[in-house]
Point group: C2
Chain length 359, copies 2
C-alpha cells in the first residue's frame, strides 16, 4: 500500500520531467489521485504510461497555451492546445464556475484536449462554491449505436455533483454503457465470460465473450439491447459527444483521437483533439442556498431510507460507494498492481524519478 | 381517422369550457396534438379525461397567475399556480429562450405545475431560435431506485433538441426507464408477459408480469438490473427529479401529486405541485451558427451511415422515427381508439362541446 502523498509526488514529478509546469503537474497528479481514492484505479496511475508514451510520440503538448476562443456571459469555448486533458479541464471548469458567479450558470465546451481522467473530479470542483457541477467528455470509439455494428462512440461519461447541507453531496459519475471498458479487459484477461448486454460481435450478434472486442466487435450502450432501451443509452452518449465536440470544434464520434500511442493517429480529422463539456450552476440562482441544502438533505434522507429489497443491506445514494472507498483508502493507502509498479519503476528510471516499491 | 384540426379544436374548446383562457387552451391543444402527431397517443387526447376529472375535483387552477419568483441573468424559478402543466411549461421554456438571447443560455425550474404532456415539445421550441432545447419533468412515483422495493420516482423523461442545417434536427426524448408505462398497461390489459428487466414484484423479485404493478410492484430504471447498470438509470432519474423539484421548490420523488383524480391527494407535501426543468442554449454561444449547423449535418450523416447490423435496415438518429410518424399522420389523420372516442363524446356532452365520431 502506498500513501497518497507518495504516489501524488511521484506523478507530479514524472509530469514535470516531461516538461509540464509545476502547477500543471500538481493538477494532473491531483486528478489521478482522485481516481485512486474513489476506487477507480482504471483512471489512476495506470494511465501515466499512456500519457508517457503519447509524450514520447510527440502527441502531447506539455507547454500548452490554453485559451478562451469564444464567449458570452454564461458560455465559453476553450482550446486546450493539445495539452494533458486535466490541464484544460481544470481551467475550463474554473471558467464555468467564474461565469456562474455573475450569470447564475456557466457552460464551457473544450476542444483540442486529451483524456481527462475521471469526470466526477471536475463536477465536484463546483461543490465548495455552493454550485452544482456537471462534466462530460467524449472518448475513443468502441461503442456501437443501436442497430449498428460500427464502434462510433466512446464510453462517454456524465458526472453531476449537487451540494447538500448535513448530508454528503449527491455525486453521480457514470459511463453511458452498462459497464466500464476496464472491467471487460479484466474479464478477458481471466478468460471469463460476461453477461449478455455488454458486447456484440462484429456481425452485431449479442455475445458473452469480451474477446470479441479485439475481433471487430463493439460495446453496447446503456440498456444493452433495443428492447431494454439501448436507444436511450445511444441518445445519452450522442448528447455527450455533441456537447463535448460539436459545441467546441473537437473531433466527434469515430474521429476522436486515440488516447494510447500504440494506436495510430487517424487519417481523418473533423476538429481538434478530444472534447469535454462542463457546467456550473449556483444553487442560489434557483433557491436561497440554505433552503436548497436542507431540501437536498431531505431528498437524500428520503431515498436513503426507502425500503431495501430482501438481501440488500441498504439503498445507496449516488456518491455513497465512492465516498466509502475514499475513507478506507485514505486510511489504508493505495494498492498498486505489480504490473503497474513495474511500469512506474521503468518510467521513473527513464525520466530520473525514483519509484520505490514498498511491497 | 381524424384531421389534426378537428381534434385540436375539440381539445381547445374543452379546456375553454373548463375556464381556461383562449391562448392557454390553444397552447394545451397544441401540445396534445404534438404527442398524437409524433406517434405518442399515450400523451395525447387520451389524457383529456384525467385533466377533466382533476378539474371537477378542484385540483387544477384554470385561471392561474403563472409568475417568475426568482431569477439571475441565466436562470429563473417559475411558479405555475396549480395550472394545467402545458401552460406553465410553455411560459417557462419561452423564458429560458429569452434569457439565452442575452446571457447565451437560459435555465428555468418550474414548481406548482401538473402533468405537462410530451417533454420533446418544449425542447423543440428552441430550434427555430437556433438554440438547443432541453426539457425534463418529474412525475407520479412508480419506479424503484436500485436495491429498493419502494416506488419513489416517476418515469422522469429527458428531451434534448439540437438544430442542424440541411439535416432534420436531432431530437432525443426518452423516459429514464427501459419502457414507457403506457406499454406496460397495454400488455397487462392483453394478459401478456413482458421481458424481464422492466418490472419487479413487491418483494423486489424480477418479474415478467406487468400485473405486479397493481400489487405493490414497481418499474425499474434504465439498465433494468444492477449488473446492467440500473444504478445509472437511477442517477439519471434522480437528476431529473432534483433539477425539476429541488431547484424549484416542487414536490420531489414519492411526494409528486397524482396526475389522475382517482388517486387521492397525498398527506405529505415537501413543496408545491409537480416540477419541470427547461434549458435553452444559443448555438452561437459556442460556435458561429452556420459552422455549428454544418458540423451537426456531418455528425448526423456520419452516424446515419454507420454500418447497420444484419437484419436492420438502417441506423436511426434520435428524432427520425417520430418525424416519419408525423409525416404519415399529418397525411392520414389521427387514429382514436373507440374507448377514447366514447370518453371524448361524454366529456363533450357534459361541457357542451360536440364530438362527432367519424368512424
Amino acid at each position: 500500500m502506498y500513501p497518497v502523498k507518495y504516489l501524488s509526488d511521484f506523478t507530479s514529478n514524472v509530469f514535470m520531467k516531461m516538461g509540464c509546469s509545476e502547477p500543471d503537474a500538481l493538477r494532473i497528479a491531483e486528478v489521478f489521485m482522485a481516481a485512486e481514492l474513489r476506487g477507480l484505479p482504471s483512471h489512476g496511475i495506470l494511465r501515466i504510461k499512456d500519457y508517457y508514451q503519447l509524450w514520447k510520440a510527440g502527441r502531447i503538448n506539455v507547454k500548452p497555451d490554453v485559451r478562451v476562443v469564444h464567449e458570452t456571459p454564461s458560455t465559453a469555448v476553450v482550446d486546450g492546445d493539445g495539452c494533458v486533458g486535466m490541464v484544460a479541464a481544470v481551467q475550463s471548469m474554473e471558467l464555468a464556475i467564474s461565469k456562474a458567479k455573475t450569470a447564475g450558470t456557466g457552460w464551457v465546451s473544450t476542444r483540442n484536449s486529451n483524456h481527462y481522467g475521471i469526470a466526477g473530479y471536475y463536477a465536484m470542483m463546483a461543490l465548495k462554491h455552493d454550485m452544482i457541477g456537471i462534466s462530460m467528455t467524449n472518448a475513443n470509439p468502441q461503442v456501437a449505436p443501436t442497430f449498428s455494428v460500427s464502434p462510433m462512440l466512446g464510453t462517454n461519461p456524465i458526472a453531476v455533483a449537487i451540494p447538500a447541507g448535513q448530508q454528503p453531496p449527491f455525486v453521480a459519475d457514470f459511463a453511458t454503457t452498462p459497464i466500464a471498458r476496464g472491467k471487460l479487459v479484466v474479464a478477458e484477461k481471466k478468460g471469463e465470460k460476461v453477461p449478455f448486454g455488454f458486447v456484440q460481435d462484429k456481425n452485431g450478434i449479442p455475445s458473452d465473450d469480451p474477446a470479441v472486442l479485439k475481433a471487430g466487435g463493439s460495446m453496447l450502450t446503456l440498456g444493452g439491447d433495443y428492447i431494454h432501451g439501448s436507444h436511450k443509452g445511444f441518445c445519452l452518449s450522442a448528447i455527450v459527444d455533441i456537447f463535448s465536440a460539436v459545441f467546441s470544434g473537437a473531433n466527434f464520434g469515430p474521429f476522436v483521437p486515440p488516447s494510447v500511442a500504440y494506436l495510430p493517429v487517424l487519417d481523418k480529422k473533423v476538429g481538434e483533439g478530444t472534447g469535454h463539456f462542463f457546467g456550473a450552476m449556483r444553487i442560489d440562482a434557483f433557491q436561497d442556498a440554505s433552503s436548497f441544502k436542507s431540501s437536498m438533505d431531505e431528498w437524500i434522507t428520503t431515498f436513503r431510507h426507502s425500503k431495501p429489497a430482501p438481501g440488500q443491506e441498504k439503498v445507496l445514494i449516488p456518491g455513497d460507494p465512492e465516498r466509502e472507498k475514499e475513507a478506507r483508502i485514505r486510511k489504508e493507502g493505495i494498492a498498486v498492481l505489480p504490473a503497474v509498479e513495474k511500469e512506474m519503476k521503468e518510467i521513473g528510471e527513464e525520466l530520473g524519478v525514483e519509484f520505490v516499491s514498498n511491497e
